[in-house]
């Protein structure tokens, strides 16, 4: 079976500065694939390109066998690729429920069914039931992170791009979110997951890709990555690796 997502020799230059250099990798259907790397490694840029909000300088992205390299973000969403944002971007003056409704009505496979029931189900699923009718601006950071995820889930992605959903959360909150990601995967959604928190990555991912200075350093199962001298060097510097 061909991979769900395949990225081939992707390059992105910002005014001559290379943010991504020749990045290639594949994500199999049903995986939780982690994407790690030090600050400025190009993780978010890579995400934005796959999600269609930024177009690459060169290279090709194939999703479900289709060339989606230059798709706009709303086209990507409607085909089943949706992202969350590292810095949450709720529709502030709208209620939590309305935020989720947008994803439900305009996302992938948005037709028919009991819509209001579905919204409630999604909100309960991420633990936002109690603030459903509050304006999104009034939510605390943890809830805004959940809303970001809920809204994206409402768009019913087949490939979910999660950008640091755990940053700024307490350990308990983080475990809840990670549990949620596993449940999402069990329901058949493939996840590409950017995260700084190593424990989160190591405990959830099947496969990890490491980026450094815009290039792919290595990839493999979490345990292998954790002990890879090159990865340790990238994160901690040369002496620590020795």
């Amino acid at each position: 079976m061909p991979p769900l997502l395949s990225v081939e020799r992707l390059n992105k230059y910002f005014a001559g500065l290379a943010a991504l250099k020749d990045v290639s990798f594949e994500v199999e259907e049903g995986q939780i694939c982690g994407l790690i790397g030090p600050n400025g490694a190009g993780k978010t840029t890579l995400f934005s390109i796959i999600a269609g909000s930024v177009s690459p300088s060169s290279g090709m992205i194939t999703y479900s066998g289709k060339d989606v390299t230059r798709w706009k973000s709303f086209q990507a969403v409607r085909a089943g690729v949706a992202r969350t944002h590292q810095i949450t971007r709720p529709f502030r003056s709208m209620t939590t429920r309305q935020n989720v409704e947008v994803g439900l009505h305009f996302g992938h496979g948005s037709a028919g069914g009991n819509r209001s029931g579905e919204v409630t189900e999604i909100l309960e699923g991420v633990g936002l039931g109690r603030v459903a009718d509050k304006p999104a601006a009034s939510l605390c950071v943890g809830d805004q992170k959940r809303l970001e995820l809920a809204r994206t889930l409402a768009a019913k992605p087949k490939l979910l791009l999660c950008d640091e959903v755990c940053s700024g959360l307490t350990d308990t909150e983080m475990n809840e979110v990670l549990e949620l990601l596993r449940r999402i995967r069990e329901r058949g959604t493939t996840i590409l997951y950017v995260e700084h928190n190593m424990r989160a990555i190591m405990s959830t991912c099947d496969q990890v890709i490491v980026l450094n200075f815009g290039q792919k350093l290595t990839e493999g199962p979490p345990l292998k990555i954790q002990n890879d001298p090159a990865v340790i060097e990238a994160y901690l510097g040369k002496t620590a690796a020795d």
């Binding site: 706009k72 709303f74 969403v77 529709f91 709208m94 947008v102 305009f106 992938h108 209001s116």
Partner: protein, 327 residues
């Protein structure tokens, strides 16, 4: 059905009843022999209301602040004027006026909607001024000296009044339908955060173009209705910058992003404009300036927001006194 949806249904019924009452009141008002001056005042207010409701679709619901609605108003006015002079029935002329404005909205929207916030606003000022200069120098429309409509038959104020009332009602219905629709939800999302909306499947450019088109059509019709009434139009008037500003002021005064706000704003503006301008030729500008500052500082939701606060204040007192009488 859940309790919430029953409440929602009752709420909607109240609203429909409220709008219906207003419409019937305005509809039967002329039967009580109102003065020609009041008819003129109400007619002007109704025309302003059409434009105000139209601007709110784009500016209030979708958050795209345009200073260029005089383009649609003026195009509608000139198109209807020239069609009526050519002997076409007024209603058909208004339809063509709306169509011309709609086409203009797409031509203007395609390039300017790539800009955001203040840059979009500035671009619309540019387009609007360019249009005014063009119309001032175009000879077949009469240029700077304007255009006079040649319509046979006597002048019937009530016919104008009911035309304006009909189109104003149509504008409010369109506005309410959009506000409570899936499309309205996407406009709100675009207003709040365009990229985030696109990231969950909304096509922002398409949403903006469609709502711009609807707004332009209504504004073009309003221009046409006004032109037929005035029987004489000129570029400094219908294409003037003050027309764009007036169209933008009304919904902001009344409450942008709501259904009722632009209607209230249109009435306030229409009455104030006609009464105050007659009494103090320059004073109204000062008043609008002051009003705008007060609204932006204290009540961004305009009159509608202020009424909402007033209502919750009264409800609090009511509950308190009810509790006191029980205890």
């Amino acid at each position: 059905m859940t309790a919430a949806s029953v409440r929602m249904g009752r709420f909607l019924t109240y609203r429909v009843a409220g709008w219906g009452t207003l419409l019937i009141a305005l509809g039967i008002l002329p039967w009580f022999g109102i003065s020609p001056n009041l008819t003129r005042l109400l007619f002007t207010s109704l025309v302003w209301i059409i434009t105000s409701v139209a601007w709110n679709l784009l500016g209030g619901f979708a958050g795209q602040v345009s200073f260029g609605f005089a383009v649609f108003y003026g195009l509608g006015a000139y198109t209807a004027a020239m069609r009526i002079s050519a002997g076409i029935p007024p209603l058909a002329a208004f339809a063509i006026a709306g169509l011309v404005a709609a086409i203009a909205s797409v031509l203007i929207g395609l390039p300017t909607f790539r800009l955001r916030g203040p840059y979009f606003a500035i671009a619309t000022i540019g387009v609007s001024e360019a249009m005014r200069v063009l119309m001032t120098n175009l000879s077949f429309t009469g240029g700077a000296s304007g255009y006079r409509i040649a319509e046979p038959g006597p002048f019937r104020p009530l016919e104008h009044y009911y035309t304006a009332l009909g189109f104003a009602a149509m504008a409010v219905v369109i506005s309410a339908l959009i506000h409570h629709s899936k499309f309205g939800l996407s406009l709100q999302a675009v207003r709040e955060d365009q990229e985030a909306a696109a990231d969950i499947g909304v096509n922002p450019l398409k949403a903006k173009l469609i709502v711009h088109l609807l707004a332009a059509t209504l504004t073009g019709i309003a221009g046409g209705v006004y032109a037929r009434y005035a029987a004489y139009i000129h570029p400094q008037g219908v294409f003037g910058f003050h027309t764009s500003v007036a169209i933008l002021l009304m919904p902001i005064i009344g409450g942008a992003g709501t259904v009722a706000g632009p209607v209230i704003g249109g009435f306030v503006y229409g009455l104030v404009q006609e009464e105050l301008v007659a009494a103090f030729p320059q004073f109204h500008l000062l008043l609008y300036g002051a009003l705008l500052i007060v609204i932006i500082l204290f009540e961004p939701q305009g009159v509608v927001g202020w009424l909402g606060k007033l209502r919750s204040f009264i409800e609090r007192i009511w509950r308190k006194s009810a509790a006191a009488s029980v205890g």
